[in-house]
Symmetry: C2
Subunit: 133 residues, 2 copies
């Protein structure tokens, strides 16, 4: 049997002059439930305070919001500025690095908004063929 000359994911990544780690790092950071949304909102608003996020992102809990912001900050995508006042005031903004991530993310979202209908249709169709529903 002739074996195809298969490229591994590492090979592909090497074409991009980098290892598969790069891909994983970014996927793990922004592939979660809220990170992309936080980044997009910051891009729209410029600056957002903690309790503002809490209000405008429907369904996120304070704990998870806190975790998400902390992770994004740790990875240099957003900036946290705390004012020494009472009650506390903390402002979040995009860093340059985070701002750079916006275009690729938007490209993805553009596709999502155009094609999520197709995905849902395919899903429905597939389930019909499987006799579900």
């Amino acid at each position: 049997m002739k074996t195809k000359n298969l490229l591994t994911i590492t090979d592909i990544a090497k074409c991009y002059n980098n290892s598969e780690i790069s891909i994983r790092i970014v996927l793990e950071r922004i592939g979660d439930k809220w990170s992309m949304i936080v980044l997009l909102l910051l891009d729209e608003h410029g600056t957002i305070r903690f309790h503002e996020f809490d209000k405008i992102i429907h369904g996120i809990s304070q704990k998870v919001l806190s975790n998400t912001l902390k992770a994004l900050e740790t990875d240099g995508l957003i900036d946290r500025k705390a004012y020494p006042v009472v009650p506390p005031k903390v402002e979040y903004t995009l860093t340059d690095l985070g701002r750079g991530l916006i275009p690729p993310v938007k490209t993805l979202i553009d596709w999502a908004c155009e094609h999520s209908v197709d995905i849902v249709a395919a899903r429905k169709n597939h389930n019909l063929n499987q006799g579900k529903f």
Copy 2:
């Protein structure tokens, strides 16, 4: 106190003439550990058989590979063609829908390969400042 006129994620999505559901649908599909990698490999190779995936994707288990492929097929991103032979032969390819997803995904990966270094550096720096390590 003057309240800012904050845009919710729904508002933002509406600018794209679509609901936040679109975003979530796509994020949930390709935000997992392996989907993007499978799509990229299919884009590179055109056609891949099950056990070929098994070999070229380092670290994926047969169960998870099976789940991933099934999910991508259900959502119309890849095509599964089974030949009635023994031992079995099954070929996976991208659908038109799946092929369309490649450019946005690559845009993201390009960014990842360029900037994962910055993320890692930020992470290290942050941990140093926190006195960790």
